[in-house]
Subunit: 682 residues, 2 copies
């Protein structure tokens, strides 16, 4: 994962991986390739427990793995890098690539091919030809709202490399924090960061770390809005007098740069001049989103400026600002990238549009000749499932773009916005879902089987752990903290069945949150993809598809429902000594109720007993009650549970219609009266 | 934990911790105290899920917690700091201390007092008077053999502060790596570290981080032996010509400084002059251990020097070296500390002796007027249980030291030597055991109840997680890697019942290991204190103490033994696709055999059936076979299992003796024929 462009299993033969495993580098070799091979070896050792030689073999013919690299490619990763490679295994594994980055991509595939059976570890015989579908495959990490350490960013880079992502979009300034040391304007980080910023050495270190893995780093300094943390130290940049303080809450704030003063551009010019030396990438993200225009409208001097220059409204003033910005960026050798708000008449053609409000702006941009990157549908902070994001394609088969227009669609980016994530939880909000998104960006459009995706995602998820990513391990940490140290076993049953509420509903369900508040509730511990719920949905689907026998998987389903019904007492006992669980006990009660309802319905189905309408209405009402979001959590099997109840109530209809017709009827009856599950880009 | 010097529960009253919780600082306030309060608040938020105000309250009378601090204490932590505090709770919590460090210690106690019930979180009404028993309470971390990142060291410092340890003994150079940037002698880190070293900025950052938490940092640069990584870049320092390479294996190497050349001292002088500016502590650890003297004996010039100066042997030459070293250290304002080998006639009295070879040298040193710190008995890398270390006292009740001599015993240090730990596993080798050792150093000599210690250790262990320590969370990571991503459930049963072999036996049981090899075997995943085994030992003890009924806890014991007997099939299935488990399956078989044997014995006991001697001999032989160490693991209930078998075989004797006599007889019969469990300082 991501699935290669072409894989042929060549049938016979396998390459054993044992203590005698050796590696030869044949062709171009540099430090980057050597370091990549060493990292691969360390992970191979970790998985196999074998002590492997770090010495490269001089005998390519006899080596287990031969890496043949034609040339260096770009010494600094850049858009348009050749990332293709081939991997051929039989007697030995031969990995061939035109560039070092191509070889690095192939080494990740090599590691994913590692298999094992009673005879030991091996690489199966395959022939792989691989190249990415899109050249821009990114992950945005917002460190403005919650700061994340250098070590954390580095482990995300390792994980990104493992799933062949190639752009870290580093969102470095926000209303809630300015995260970069500026020697030119030290009040930016001194007053705008609570002391939580990256030194210039650290920034260079991260850029180099990314370079070694074939990953570009595109910095974002959002402007003219989202600049509260800038104007704490430099209020003269704003369009209203201030003073300002670092934002602690979330949302859209009024603070916006004054685009009418030459001093503003002088400041930006100096700042970009200083910081652009640290980021070698050709692209520079200026943000440009969510400027509410209020300060501009309220400032008579700015209004006067607009009249004088014939600028009709705030979006037009922002375009004026962007035109100035483009000039500054050109001077420093950078190309502008921004959120889709910047797509207004007059925007210079070199600007790259990042679509966040919908796929439409990407299409519009492409038709107007702008390059674009899709993020709508990949907002992982909305807490949708991997399947939801997986279904979104930057360039769907239904697209009406001409090939020339389509070439403007460079790829996509998952966006990890920082309102509701801190160092302990951000990994579980990025991973493993982003691996599914990475597959969407790398693999063929036709790779869309969701079950197969989840099967492979589960394996990749565990492999990512070896890179230090904490998405799996930290769940238990949070559960143990909630129970105050008691065995969280009973809580785990519940935690495995709920999902965070989608979208930005959490804010309305928990006490007023700030950047300084705790992210240690159950909602922080649970996965966005409840595998337990998936299994239950599957079991109910199976059972109802087995009409009129209702046998398939029944025992397993009953077992699970029984554990729900009986589990709440244990959680209540835990809660007696752990007040942090107080918000959870209603969920445990709801789960118990649903268990009882489900068991009731199954008993009716298995005995052919048809309950009356009063029973049905009572159960449906109880389910509606039990599946309402609470503690920012929801049970993602409300519909399936309703189906079970309707199935019991409507058994009689099976006498007059085919099982398929009956099932369709049940599904219609059970269709949710409430808001559907979160959908792409919601 | 550590238990305070004096605690009185004052009975009535409690201080609620809720969203309205406020804190007031009354008296001396500085950045250190303010930062300590903020860190405490963040952890309090994390545990409670409450959004708490970061603003300090101006109204001390109404505040939930009032911290009254008399003065700053030492601005840089130093030996002799007043760490005492009092904590009084009733209407509000009043924490009073003479120094900021005392207040910080009290804040940790405050957090440990947090309790919860159905009415919410609260601090119970208590009166605590607390001060440490020993002023030197340390943890050594060896980053020479395996490098550990700055972030990792920082989280250990946080955890140390949580259990009131106050010295980080940072072992910074070893044969396997030189970990400090030297601008004066750059080949030290450039050629001696594989690129894994701390920059001087990072070192300063760690020292400051420790200072903020009231922790001293004592650097160790081991010499004249253990210097292979120094002489890679500077072979002229050695007593034999070289060339040298960084050591990859472990053990005692020959490389040793040439103590006869003035240039050696010039180098050391310059080096200490440079680096001592980074470490403000008054103590400087020179190592001094495990110099095998071979290079000295083989070098005619050195032999000639010894004759000329009347130096009779290698220890005497090392004392000569230490005398020169003392002068250099004095010049740079430092006091020498070293391992107990340095305690030779002629050693300057200001030297501090760290006893590693046994408690004897500490006593000898004290009698000769040397200060000393005990590490023998606290070698946590030997993988003994917490109980083992807990039983060792730096100044036992049986000590024959006079009060004046006893005052030379400054305290102790747990030593985390780095041969068998890497970033993923070091936390589980340090924690939670070191919390038990910390209690030994802080609390009264009389605090020795092992069961109570384990009860409290389990709670503290979970609390340490909030500081980022990975000792609990990484176990599952390693298990998942071993199974190749499959659910490690079946493996967990086994993992919970084994302990790593004690002492340094592992080296003999697994393939030749180097600093570059994997630390991802089952032995790396399991705890040094098998709580599962403790429970089984307890159950067997209970059952046999219940002679002649053999009822107490029988059902639970049978349940566990049955799960052992039936568990190996699932592990074997996992191993079919996960070759890394190959070394584990024999252990699973052994566990299954023990389960069957145990069930057999219990059946005999419960039915009053007396098996014959052949049965007994066969079972004992089978147990001997099943409990031999394998894969560097052992089952720590061999004796209890033997008791069970002897009990079944010897039931008849109950007719002729009291249950107590009978039990004593069983224990004698079952006493291990093999080496006992690892004991303190073994």
């Amino acid at each position: 994962m991501p699935a290669p462009a072409s894989v042929h299993t060549t049938g016979v033969g396998r390459v054993p991986i044992d203590a005698k495993t050796t590696i030869a580098l044949n062709g171009f070799v540099d430090d980057r390739l050597r370091a990549g091979v060493t990292r691969m070896l360390v992970r191979l050792q970790g998985r196999t427990g074998l002590v492997l030689s770090r010495e490269l073999s001089a005998n390519a013919d006899a080596a287990t793995l031969v890496v043949t690299c034609k040339g260096p490619g770009f010494s600094t990763p850049a858009l348009g890098e050749d990332e293709s490679y081939t991997l051929d295994s039989g007697r030995q594994v031969v990995l061939a690539a035109g560039t070092v980055v191509g070889a690095l991509r192939g080494l990740e595939t090599f590691l994913q091919l590692l298999s094992g059976d009673r005879d030991g570890f091996f690489i199966p015989a395959v022939n792989i030809q691989d190249r990415p579908r899109f050249p821009w495959r990114g992950l945005l990490i917002d460190v403005g709202r919650h700061f994340e350490s250098v070590d954390l960013i580095k482990r995300e880079l390792d994980a990104m490399a493992a799933v062949k992502l190639n752009v870290l979009h580093w969102h470095l300034s926000e209303d809630q924090g300015f995260r970069v040391e500026s020697r030119k304007y030290p009040k930016l980080h001194e007053l705008g960061s609570d002391g939580q910023y990256y030194t210039q050495d650290q920034l260079r270190d991260v850029v180099e770390y990314a370079r070694m893995r074939g990953i570009r780093v595109v910095p974002e300094f959002d402007m003219p809005g989202h600049v509260m943390s800038w104007v704490v130290g430099y209020p003269e940049l704003a369009s209203a007098p201030g003073p300002y303080t670092i934002a602690r809450k979330f949302g859209v704030f009024d603070a916006v740069f004054d685009p009418t003063r030459p001093e503003t551009y002088k400041f930006i010019d100096n700042f970009i001049g200083e910081i652009s030396k640290i980021f070698p990438d050709a692209y520079w993200h200026v943000g440009g989103d969510e400027n509410n225009g209020k300060q501009w409208q309220a400032n008579p001097k700015i209004q006067e400026f607009m009249r004088r220059h014939g600028i009709k409204d705030s979006p037009a003033l922002q375009t004026y600002f962007n035109q100035q910005l483009t000039g500054i960026l050109r001077k420093h050798g950078k190309r502008m990238m921004g959120w889709d708000e910047i797509l207004e008449p007059g925007l210079p053609k070199e600007a790259v549009i990042q679509s966040w409000r919908g796929q439409r702006s990407l299409v519009d941009a492409a038709k107007q000749g702008y390059d674009g990157v899709l993020s709508a549908g990949y907002y992982i902070d909305l807490l949708n499932t991997a399947a939801t994001h997986y279904a979104v394609d930057p360039l769907p088969g239904t697209s009406d773009l001409t090939p020339a227009e389509a070439a403007h669609v460079l790829g996509g980016e998952a966006t990890m916005w920082g309102e509701w994530v801190g160092p302990e939880t951000i990994d579980s909000r990025i991973w493993p879902r982003t691996a599914a998104i990475a597959e969407r960006f790398w693999s063929a459009r036709e790779v869309t089987n969701v079950d197969d995706m989840y099967r492979r995602l589960t394996v990749v998820s565990v492999q990512l752990e070896e890179l230090g990513v904490t998405h799996l391990r930290n769940a238990d940490v949070l559960l143990r903290r909630l129970t105050g140290g008691a065995d969280p076993g009973p809580l785990r049953v519940l935690a495995d069945l709920v999902e965070p509420v989608k979208g930005y509903q959490r804010g309305g369900q928990q006490p007023a949150m700030t950047t300084l508040g705790p992210l240690t509730h159950l909602v922080d511990a649970v996965s966005t993809d409840s595998l337990g719920a998936r299994a239950v949905n599957r079991l109910i689907e199976q059972l109802l598809a087995d009409a009129p026998h209702f046998m398939l998987g029944r025992d397993e389903l009953q077992k699970r429902l029984t554990s729900w019904r009986d589990g709440h007492a244990a959680i209540a006992r835990l809660a007696d000594e752990a007040p942090a669980l107080a918000e959870i006990t209603p969920l445990a009660d709801d789960l118990a109720n649903m268990g009882a309802i489900g068991l009731d319905a199954i008993m009716c189905l298995s005995r052919g007993v048809v309950p009356d309408a009063a029973w049905r209405d009572a159960k449906i009402a109880a389910l509606t009650q039990a599946t309402r979001p609470q503690a920012a959590l929801e049970f993602p099997f409300a519909v399936a549970m309703r189906e079970l109840v309707f199935a019991a109530a409507e058994q009689g209809q099976l006498a007059t219609m085919s099982p398929a017709e009956w099932l369709a009827r049940i599904k219609t009856l059970a269709a949710p009266p409430r808001r559907g599950r979160g959908s792409a880009g919601s």
